[in-house]
């Protein structure tokens, strides 16, 4: 599903965020990416989302070399990816249902279908009763479940989560991880960046540890 070959990302003044990273993640796999702050986890995810370009090396997702994609192909590629961030990135001026239906809306899906699909995923994360609430009226755990629902609304083949439990207490964190495990059980590849060692131990999946931009352990 994801392959990198000698992938490096260099920022100004020769600072390596990632250095010579070669790894493979299989389709329908659930993988943790861990390491201390500044290890390069978020940079790796940003490269996968094409928010940044590699300085050296290549990234393949579903057999596509990301370096060769033009603007239209990038849009097409991103439509197959769900993303979840630590700070949820919900739109405060829109209701819960609108935050979710917004994704199919901007992809040109007809209105009735947008709302039906949004309600389905909202029900799946157990928040259908909050569909008319605004994000600021929800708890952190609820907001992250909305973000997960939004990531799923487009039936992605890959879900990328950057510190999805960073703002949540341990119980809520486990709850979010269980949702991600369920997503993965449906055949979706899940890649989670976290520095929460305890959570990784509890979930118990393949873990790639980075330090100073290099892979230091695969367990």
């Amino acid at each position: 599903m994801i392959e990198t070959h000698h992938l490096s990302k260099v920022y100004s003044r020769g600072l390596y965020a990632l250095r010579d990273l070669t790894l493979a993640i299989e389709k329908a796999e659930f993988v943790f990416l861990t390491g201390p702050s500044g290890a390069g986890k978020s940079t790796f995810l940003r490269l996968l989302l094409l928010q940044e370009r590699p300085s050296e090396g290549e990234v393949f997702v579903n057999g596509q070399n990301l370096a060769t994609l033009n603007r239209r192909e990038i849009q097409e590629y991103r439509r197959g990816i769900g993303f979840i961030f630590q700070d949820f990135k919900l739109i405060p001026s829109r209701t819960v249902l609108e935050n979710i239906s917004f994704v199919p809306e901007v992809l040109g899906v007809p209105a009735a279908q947008q709302r039906r699909r949004a309600f389905q995923v909202l029900k799946w994360v157990g928040l259908q009763h909050r569909m008319n609430a605004y994000p600021n009226d929800l708890s952190g755990g609820e907001q992250q479940r909305i973000a997960i629902a939004r990531a799923l609304v487009n039936d992605p083949v890959l879900v990328i989560a950057d510190e999805p439990t960073g703002n949540l207490d341990p119980d809520l964190s486990l709850e979010i991880m269980n949702l991600l495990r369920e997503i993965n059980a449906g055949g979706t590849t899940v890649l989670v960046a976290t520095h929460d060692r305890e959570l990784i131990r509890l979930v118990g999946r393949r873990t790639i540890t980075l330090d100073q931009g290099k892979i230091v352990e695969v367990a």
Partner: protein
Amino acid sequence: MRSVEYAFRQGGASLWRSRGSSAFAVLAIALALIVLGALLIVTWNAEQLLARWSSAAEFSVYLRDDATSEQRSGIETAIDQSGLSEGREFVSKAEALTRFRREFAELAELTSGFDENPFPASIEVRVRPGADHEAAEGLVKRLIATPGVADARYDRDWLTRVGAGLGTIRAAGVGLALLMGVAAAVTVATVVRLGLRARREELEIMELVGAPLAFIRGPFVAEGFLQGGIGALFAITALWVGFLVAMAWWGGDLNSLLGGSVQFLPIRLCLYLVLGGMLVGSAGGLVAARDAA
């Protein structure tokens, strides 16, 4: 089609949310269009007036005192056969003198000192409406060279000069309106950009989910388009009110001075003004939208 509907829904919502700052952009567009519209009212009415005067143009053929009746007859035949004349009138020397004394009564005493009547006889020719003015000028030149003719004058020259003057005024006005239009577009771009900053996170999400450019940039272009349209409607309303007030105060004097009724801009020009406002607004929105993705 869905992207257009989405763009206008989001653009309209953004316009309402930022109605305070949007008012500046609307005002800037309205001011630019008021300047342009006012100039258009002046030049359009002046053009109508010139057209009326042009259609009523005439030329005079002054005869030598020693012109024979055969020569006069030949001149009249040349005028009639040209197909440019709607009618002609012979003015004898005596009639010319009488006219002068009647029309310039205060100078009438000057003519009493002459031993002989100094005014020439003439043939006054009314040019057929829609006639080719260059052909009329050609006829006048030919007549000047005809035996028995002292001179001939075609009163088109001053119309041409007034027309050229109007063209200069119109060009200056369009130049000024263009400058103001650019300033209005910059104001729109600045205001739309403010809204864009407020929606930075939403735009980031749109990019990440692979939204097409039309969905990302469209709402900002639509917002500028709406600002331009509203500004143009304000401008036309202000021009209309200003026109009514001006006509209430000076309408009678202006109408009698110009020999016809002064009119507001025709619907076609009003529509052009609205379209112009929308174009200026859209251009400002498009400039701002380029920062969105």
